[in-house]
């Protein structure tokens, strides 16, 4: 079983307590009604789906119930790090060779 570090509970907890909530850092337009169909499609449907490092939202559903962000490698399925919701993308990832 994967252990995922919850930044609010400040410890690693079993993956059964968590839910994935899709890609992170997707900004919602402040003027949604003014968006063109193409821009809305990009915002709403199009995801990066990379092979490698991905930034995702996760929720500690059966714990503190908070949403947070996680950096995960889609190849190894390993979590690189997690950080609180609202915080910017980490500039440096620990243990990842660039």
């Amino acid at each position: 079983m994967l252990l995922i570090r919850c930044p609010y509970c400040e410890e690693e907890r079993p993956e059964l307590e968590f839910r994935n909530a899709g890609e992170a850092h997707i900004a919602r337009s402040a003027n949604m009604a003014g968006e063109s169909d193409d821009d809305f499609e990009k915002f709403f449907f199009i995801r990066s789906n990379p092979k490698g490092i991905i930034y995702e939202r996760w929720r500690h559903m059966h714990g503190c119930a908070r949403f947070f962000n996680a950096v995960r490698d889609t190849v190894t399925d390993k979590f690189v790090m997690t950080y609180k919701a609202g915080e910017p993308k980490p500039a440096k990832l620990p243990g990842v060779a660039k």
Partner: protein, 194 residues
Amino acid sequence: MAKAAAKKTAAAASPSVDRRPALAGRTTTATGVKVEVLPPAERISLRAPEASVAALSKALGLTLPKKPKTSASKGGRTALWLGPDEWLVIDEGGNDPLADCATVAALHSAVGISHRNIAISVTGPAAEAAINSGCPQDLSLDAFPAGAASRTILGKAEIVLLRTSNDAFRVECWRSFSDYVFTFLSEGARDAAG
């Protein structure tokens, strides 16, 4: 006269206030572990921002814990940290925490959930093993000491777990899951004993 009237009212009201808690009276005993249903208690779900915590603590008569996975207990009342701004307050002394919170003007949300939850006690040297049969958390004394509390899962149901002493746990679950949770814990207790 007043006494007679009170008696009459009580007699007339009795059928509607006859409370039948889920699982009433069920217990399972296995070697080294006992699973039993605890009596009804008053409970509230409390949400409040940092700025209101001091006022709420004063009204409730105990200090709301701010550290993850901890609880605070005083005079039959226990507050469990569930999230950064969320607590479960359980009162076993017959006092109503909802009424205490109602006197607080600071921003908060207190919702009465006394009848939503059922509490099950798991006690004995094998209690840890019985709960770990369906709960993936590390329940060793290092990671989950007495007084530790956490929302987690047991099998397919969400529970709130509180370690009341080194070999005693209080399992809080939703009423509709209580039959499943009790049966699961009973099976776990038999496995832990075997």
